[in-house]
Amino acid sequence: MADPATARRVIFSSYVIPQESISLEEGIEKWKIEEGVGKTFGGKGTADLTAAQWGDGWTSMHHSQVYWKQQGDNWEDAAEGWQGTLPVSSSAISLCSDTDFNSVVVKFCYIKNLGTVADQHIKVTLNGGGGGDDEYDMIVPAGGSVAFRGDGTTLQMQHVKVKIAGSTDTTIEYIIAK
């Protein structure tokens, strides 16, 4: 039988397709690769994480056997295995739920917006603990996601915050790892 995790990592990738429309004689519109750039774009990497994470909240997911033995005082709580979401509204929410780890360096973060309509896009700041209330310059559209590694020194848990950029509340899945 295997022992507890001795290491963790995340393999992450991005894929981008720039497109332009063309109108056919029959009045049908089709999309093709944008001629100016002429190709798709992509990249892939691996972020090495700490084996023992800062807490159960490092991911929004629930382990399938977390119900009674890992919920603390709320042992009667139940959740569907491998699901778990965080509601996002107009109030800033820190992805790291334990302030004891505010100053811990972020090695990797992934945020997926589970919204389904256009005005459920969210905005993300990486300066949330530094008085950057107007620095939410990353946007995650409904259905989209963002993945990034921290620089290893400056980006800390307290700096990563989200709030809605549209008019409708939404939910997210996330990973924020040291």
Binding site: A5, A7, F12, S14, P18, G45, I139, P141
Partner: protein, 136 residues
């Protein structure tokens, strides 16, 4: 004719287990239980021919390059040295996103979440090559 950008960010969290008989192996992380993928169309508001553009360059050590007027940004470290990286600063945010060789970053951007373009500044460590795609 119109333009759009569709993109996907994907991740696979893994944990390494060691076995009493020796040896290790990576599995899908049991805290997450699955891979995560987001797939969407960029919100960049242009959608007019000519507002998508791309480019390449090489940064000097501690040197910077500015990609102006972005509503969507894709950046990739195309260096092959194995260690030269750069960090990314989006709009008013600090330069805290790191891209090592082969890695890429794709995201909609805007001033405080609005449909207002911002500049993206990258700062080199070593002399990394980079590639970008932007929607303006």
């Amino acid at each position: 004719m119109a333009e759009k950008i569709i993109y996907k960010n994907h991740c696979t969290p893994q944990e390494q287990l060691s076995f009493s008989g020796g040896g290790t192996r990576y599995y899908l992380d049991s805290d997450c239980g699955r891979k995560l993928t987001g797939n969407c169309e960029s919100r960049y508001a242009g959608k007019i021919t000519g507002e998508i553009s791309s480019g390449t360059g090489t940064l000097s050590n501690s040197g910077t390059a500015t990609i102006s007027s972005c509503k969507f940004i894709f950046l990739k470290n195309t260096d092959t040295s194995g260690s030269d990286y750069f960090t990314i600063a989006i709009g008013s945010m600090p330069s805290v996103i790191k891209l090592s060789p082969g890695e890429a970053f794709a995201c909609d951007v805007g001033d405080n979440g609005a449909d207002t373009a911002v500049a993206v500044v990258i700062t080199g460590s070593g002399t990394p090559d980079y590639e970008y795609l932007k929607g303006a």
